[in-house]
C-alpha cells in the first residue's frame, strides 16, 4: 500500500501536468483556428455522446501541418535554428575545450576553485547573463568604444541585433555545459598514457590528437548534445540579442502564440519541433548509456 502511494503520487502528477498537456497540444495542432474562446475548433462536446466524439474526430485534420510547409517562414525557421545550434555548438566546443583541458591540468588543490568558477555563472540568472551583452555589443557599447579607441575600426560595428550577437550569447551562456563534461572526462585520464605515447615516439601534438582527444570523446559528445539540444528551442537569446533577421523556431512559436494568437499553428510548430528533437535526444541517451556501461 505504501509502495503504491509512493509510486502513484509522482506518477499521477506527471501524467496530469506533463503527459496530458502534451496530448492537448497534439489535439489542438489538428484543430482549426476560430474566433472564439478558446480560439480553436472543434470543441469536444460530451453532452452529444457518441456522435459528439465522431464529429469531433472528423473535424481534426493535418491542415496546420500542411500550412507549415506552404509558408516559407516555418521551414526556414527550423533550418536556421538547426544551423545556428550546430554552428554555436562547434564554437562552444572550440572555446570550451581549452578551458576544460587547462582545468584538468591545473594543480589538484586549484581544481575545486576552478570548477566552482565555471559553475557559478550557471546559478546566475540566464536572463541577466544575456542582458549583460546588450550593453557591450550595442553601437555605443563598450566593445565598439574599445575598438574605436584602439583604432582598429573607424566606425562602430553593428553587432547587437544580428546573428553574430546571438552566437556570442549562446557560447557565453552555454559554455559551462560544454566545459563540465569534458573536464570530468579529462580529469579521469591517466597521464602515464601520454608519457607512454611520447616514449614511443609521438610528438606532443600527435599524442594529444591520438590519446587525449579519443579519451575525452564521451565528454565532447555529451557537451555537444547539452548545448545543441536546448539551443534549438532557445527563445531569450534570439529575442534580446538577435534582430529581425534572426529566425529561430522558439521565437516563431512565441510570436505565433502571443502576437498572432493562432493556437493551432503554434501547437503544430511545437509538435514538429519535438519530432526534430527526438533524433538528437535518442543519440544523446545512447551515448550516456554506453558511457555508463563502460564505467560499470
Amino acid at each position: 500500500m505504501r509502495r503504491f502511494i509512493l509510486i502513484a503520487v509522482p506518477y499521477l502528477w506527471l501524467v496530469a501536468l506533463f503527459l496530458i498537456p502534451f496530448v492537448i497540444v497534439l489535439k489542438i495542432s489538428l484543430s482549426d483556428v476560430a474566433l472564439a474562446r478558446p480560439p480553436y475548433m472543434p470543441q469536444l462536446d460530451f453532452a452529444a455522446g457518441w456522435e459528439g466524439f465522431q464529429s469531433f474526430f472528423a473535424a481534426l485534420d493535418f491542415e496546420n501541418f500542411w500550412f507549415l510547409t506552404t509558408d516559407d517562414l516555418y521551414w526556414k525557421a527550423y533550418l536556421s535554428s538547426l544551423q545556428i545550434s550546430l554552428t554555436s555548438t562547434v564554437m562552444t566546443l572550440l572555446v570550451g575545450y581549452p578551458i576544460a583541458y587547462a582545468m584538468a591540468r591545473a594543480a589538484p588543490e586549484w581544481r575545486p576553485t576552478l570548477l566552482m568558477l565555471v559553475i557559478l555563472p550557471f546559478w546566475t540568472s540566464f536572463l541577466i547573463r544575456v542582458y549583460a551583452w546588450m550593453g557591450i555589443l550595442s553601437n555605443e557599447g563598450l566593445l565598439n568604444q574599445f575598438l574605436l579607441w584602439l583604432g582598429v575600426i573607424n566606425e562602430p560595428l553593428t553587432i547587437l541585433n544580428t546573428n553574430t550577437a546571438v552566437y556570442i550569447g549562446i557560447v557565453y551562456t552555454y559554455l559551462p555545459f560544454m566545459v563540465l563534461p569534458i573536464y570530468s572526462a579529462l580529469e579521469r585520464m591517466d597521464d602515464s598514457l601520454l608519457e607512454a605515447a611520447e616514449d614511443l615516439g609521438c610528438s606532443r601534438l600527435s599524442a594529444f590528437w591520438l590519446v587525449t582527444i579519443p579519451l575525452s570523446k564521451n565528454g565532447i559528445i555529451a557537451g555537444c548534445f547539452l548545448v545543441f539540444i536546448p539551443v534549438i528551442g532557445e527563445f531569450v537569446i534570439p529575442s534580446l540579442l538577435g534582430g529581425s533577421g534572426t529566425l529561430m523556431i522558439g521565437k516563431v512559436l512565441w510570436e505565433e502564440f502571443f502576437s498572432n494568437r493562432d493556437w493551432p499553428v503554434a501547437s503544430a510548430v511545437a509538435v514538429i519541433l519535438l519530432l526534430i528533437l527526438v533524433i538528437p535526444i535518442i543519440l544523446f541517451q545512447r551515448n550516456e548509456q554506453k558511457q555508463r556501461e563502460a564505467e560499470g
Partner: protein, 272 residues
C-alpha cells in the same frame, strides 16, 4: 606530475575573463551616475534607490520568491519520491513511461512546456496566476530534483537500510533515520537547483501566468526589450551578489561536511 604550460594559463585566463568580464561590467555600471549606461559619469547609488522605490519591481520580486519557495519545496518532495521509485521500487507496470516522463522535461524546450501547460490550464478552466506558475515550475523542476537525488541513491549502500529493517525499524522509520540523512546533501542541492530554476524562469512563467501575477524575469524581460537601463543593472547586481554569496556558502558547507564524513568513516573503520 601534470604539465602546466603557458598555453593552459592563457586559455584559463581568457576563458574566465570571457565568463566574468560581462558581469563585472554590469555591476560596475550599476553604480554609474549617468542614465546612459555606457558613459561613466561618476559613482552613485541612485539606481538602487529608484529600484527600492519601484513598487512594481518589489511586487514582482515578492511573487517570484513566493513561487520559487513553494514550487521548489513541492518539487523536492515529489522529486525525492520519484527518485526513490526509480532506484528502489523495482519493476511495476508503466515503469518505462514513468522514467520517460522524468527525463523528458529535462530536454523539452521551454516554449513547448509552457505552451502545453497553458493549454491544459485553459482547458480545465483554471485561473492563471501564482497557482498555475507554481504547478508549472514544480513539474519541470521535480525532474531535476529526482535526477540529482537518484544519483545519490544509486551510490549508497542498501545494506544500511536492510540492517535498519532487520533491527525492527518500519520502512518509513528506516527511510527517515537511515536513508534521509545519507541522501540529505543531494536533497538540499536538489531544492537549491529547483529554487534557482524557478527564480530564473521567464518562458514557462510567461505562458502560464495571468494578469494577476508578474514575476521578476517577466518584468526584467519587458524592461530590457526596450534597451539597457541602469535600474536593471542595479537589480542584476543584487541578484548576482545573492547567488555568489549563496554558492560560496553552500560550497564551504559541503566541504566541511565532506571533511567531517571522512573523519567519521575513519573512526568507524578503526578496530575496537
Amino acid at each position: 606530475m601534470k604539465r602546466f604550460s603557458w598555453f593552459n594559463a592563457t586559455s584559463l585566463t581568457l576563458g574566465f575573463a570571457f565568463l566574468y568580464v560581462p558581469m563585472i561590467i554590469l555591476v560596475f555600471y550599476s553604480f554609474n551616475a549617468s542614465k546612459l549606461v555606457t558613459v561613466w559619469a561618476g559613482f552613485s547609488t541612485q539606481w538602487y534607490g529608484e529600484l527600492f522605490r519601484n513598487e512594481e519591481f518589489l511586487n514582482a520580486a515578492w511573487v517570484t520568491v513566493n513561487v520559487a519557495v513553494m514550487s521548489s519545496t513541492i518539487a523536492t518532495a515529489l522529486g525525492t519520491m520519484a527518485a526513490y521509485v526509480l532506484v528502489r521500487a523495482g519493476r511495476f507496470s508503466g515503469r518505462t513511461l514513468f522514467s520517460g516522463m522524468i527525463y523528458a522535461p529535462l530536454v523539452m524546450p521551454e516554449v513547448i512546456t509552457g505552451l502545453s501547460l497553458l493549454l491544459l490550464f485553459i482547458g480545465i478552466g483554471l485561473d492563471r496566476g501564482v497557482l498555475t506558475i507554481v504547478l508549472a515550475h514544480t513539474t519541470f523542476s521535480m525532474c531535476y530534483v529526482s535526477v540529482v537525488v537518484s544519483s545519490r541513491l544509486v551510490s549508497f549502500d542498501q545494506s544500511l537500510e536492510e540492517a535498519a529493517l532487520d533491527l525492527g525499524c518500519s520502512p518509513f522509520e528506516a527511510f527517515r533515520l537511515v536513508t534521509l540523512p545519507i541522501i540529505a546533501p543531494a536533497v538540499i542541492s536538489g531544492w537549491l537547483l529547483a529554487f534557482t530554476l524557478s527564480l530564473d524562469d521567464l518562458v514557462i512563467a510567461s505562458f502560464t501566468t495571468g494578469p494577476s501575477a508578474t514575476t521578476l524575469p517577466i518584468k526584467i524581460f519587458s524592461a530590457v526589450r526596450l534597451g539597457v537601463s541602469p535600474e536593471i543593472n542595479a537589480l542584476s547586481t543584487i541578484m548576482i551578489a545573492i547567488v555568489t554569496v549563496g554558492v560560496i556558502t553552500a560550497s564551504l558547507i559541503t566541504k566541511q561536511a565532506a571533511v567531517r564524513q571522512a573523519r567519521d568513516e575513519r573512526m568507524a573503520e578503526r578496530p575496537a
